[in-house]
Amino acid sequence: MPEDRSIQELGLDEYKFGFHDPEEYFFKTPRKGIDPEIVAMISKHKNEPEWMLEYRLKALESFLSKPTPRWGGDLSELDFEEIYYYIRPMENQGRSWDDVPDDIKNTFERLGIPQAERESLAGVGAQYESEVVYHSLKEEWDKAGVVFMDMDSGLREHEDLVREYFGTIIPADDNKFSALNSAVWSGGSFVYVPPGVHIDIPLQAYFRINAENMGQFERTLIIADEGSYVHYIEGCTAPTYTTNSLHSAVVELIAKPNARIRYSTIQNWSHNTYNLVTKRAVAYENATVEWVDGNLGSKLTMKYPAVYLMGEGARGEILSVAYAGDGQHQDAGGKVVHAAPNTSSLITSKSISKGTGRSTYRGLLKVHEGAVNSKSRVECDALLLDENARTDTYPYIEIEEKKVNTEHEATVSKVGEDQLFYLMSRGLSEEEAMAMVVNGFIEPIAKELPLEYAIELNRLIQLEMEGSVG
């Protein structure tokens, strides 16, 4: 079947995984840990404008002054002194595939990017060791004025736009990890879509951490100007390590009036990664923002994509699916703030827990006074694959306006003996039956993804269930 081939081409079979390239660094901070000197070094190396250096240093202060959060997951083993905060690969970034250095190409090859994506993809931004090395943009987008590049280039080439919006949705001092990211950020994507421009083919970015003990702090900013549309896809595959690694990204989305942004992520971190991500969007009048978020792997994920509905008629949707296997904690959910009349939101969260895995739904729904006729629906469903697995739900709801309509529904289900017996009596093995129940469970999310990602999501969950990853 062609579907099977594309799985092979995506290299998912090999993603048991953790193949490493020899680490040839172009630049790497001289020591682990973080202080003003390291931050200044990063900024200087990137040749950044003075204001960005100041921004970073201020963020560092904020990071150092904030305590490590005690709510959510267990962060007690996370040692900030044991991490390199900036690594840049040997070669600089290539404009076309031919310019990409061979060993980096090999990695992409093994991830299947050239075969599976190259032809069909119009643009690819890929982060390799803290830095985008491969990047191409379809010509027509250039013509239409669409900007899609790594954040570092964005700062160089579109400094005014970056300066206007950077950190406005997620201020550096929002939380400890946004502060950290703001101090040491590197790479990530910068996207600007001019008014009225619809990008039909999703913009896709691939990420890969390749150095042991290396944190990854990408920074993404997407601005969809009035009446425009963009779908951005972030896919993630991480090799396995022996020591803890940290991923702490910041993603800011701005949907101007009548614009629509869809941001899809499938993350599959190695099982010792702390994945602590701040994602937030603002949607102005009649704008729509959709987060589609798949969280696999990692030791601990804390991630609650947020949408602030600032203009009348704005809409926010958050669809998330998490898989927590043995020893993993997925603490995920979503936040929606209704700050204008006639706004609507939908949060759908699905979690699967197996063995000693633990999944948590943590959500906030806030409706400000004056956000009349707002509608909101929160649905969180947990599926437990066996007796030990654990799930918790923390839905925080603050409603200041009377004329609103909110619904909340939470379900916990176990894969039942009867259900498995039913499927097995039709010839499916126990594993196949289990996989079918799980795939059915996440179907509402998978169907929102482009086909190859839906297949990837199903396949990754199956691999996790077989315990063959990490």
Binding site: G427, L428, F441, E443
Partner: protein, 250 residues
């Protein structure tokens, strides 16, 4: 084809099937009738290998092979099929997707997507099901009658050698009853056997059984031809209890 000898089975330490014998030859249709709680569904589940039941004695041979040690999927691959009294719901899995997976796992050679599509269409027509059902999630929100039709659709797709039907006729309106009977008769032939569990002789007018058995307290206590079903409907189970109740207790 199917030979059950002195079968004993329990659930949660409670013996439900208490030494049951039954032999079904190739091409035969057997009906099992019996009061509520006499163990009919238990028997059906045990034959298909439900993990919650423990077999404590006796044997079940299917085509000369002892199936009691086999997993349910292995039994399905040998050609056994159970139409459930209460089919499970599987949210998010479409009927078509489920049928594809099931058919390809019992068949030695996979069907091409086109062949599969045609087969599903054809069998749905036999069962007079709206093609839209193919895209509905398996049994989710199905009415009682729709679930039963869907069970027989699966049977037609999988073409088993032995079908056990657990009250497939219960809850069906007259039209649906005829459609279900048509589905079963579609498979009827020298290579197909069936055990039809039912409370009513009305389905037996459409699916004529070769033998009728009465189950009471975990055993088959009497057997006869199709006229036995009519007798039962006339006289009720008290008659059976009086005649055979002592045998069932011994």
């Amino acid at each position: 084809m199917l030979k059950i000898e002195n079968l004993r089975a329990e659930i949660d330490g409670q013996e439900i099937v208490k030494g049951l014998d039954l032999e079904v030859s190739k091409g035969e249709i057997h009906a099992i009738m019996g009061p509520n709680g006499s163990g009919k569904s238990t028997l059906a589940n045990v034959l298909m290998g439900h993990p919650r039941y423990e077999v404590t004695g006796g044997s079940v041979m299917f085509q000369g092979e002892d199936v009691l040690e086999l997993e349910p999927d292995e039994r399905a691959k040998l050609g056994m099929f159970l139409a459930f009294q209460y089919p499970s719901e599987v949210p998010g899995v479409s009927v078509a997707n489920f049928l594809r997976t099931a058919v390809n796992s019992v068949r030695e050679e996979e069907l091409s997507p086109m062949e599969m599509f045609r087969l599903i269409q054809e069998k749905m027509r036999v069962m007079q099901m709206d093609p839209k059902f193919a895209e509905r999630y398996l049994n989710e929100g199905f009415s009682g009658g729709e679930k039963k039709r869907n069970e027989i659709l699966q049977m037609l797709m999988l073409e088993p050698k032995l079908a056990i039907m657990d009250e497939t006729d219960s809850g069906l309106d007259i039209d649906a009853l005829q459609v279900v009977a048509k589905g079963v008769n579609e498979l009827r032939g020298p290579e197909f056997s069936a055990v039809v569990i039912t409370h009513y002789q009305r389905i037996l007018r459409y699916i004529e059984p070769d033998h009728v058995h009465v189950m009471l307290d975990g055993r088959l206590v009497t057997s006869g031809g199709k006229e036995l079903a009519l007798d039962l409907e006339d006289k009720g189970y008290d008659w059976v209890r009086q005649e055979f109740g002592s045998a069932a207790q011994s």
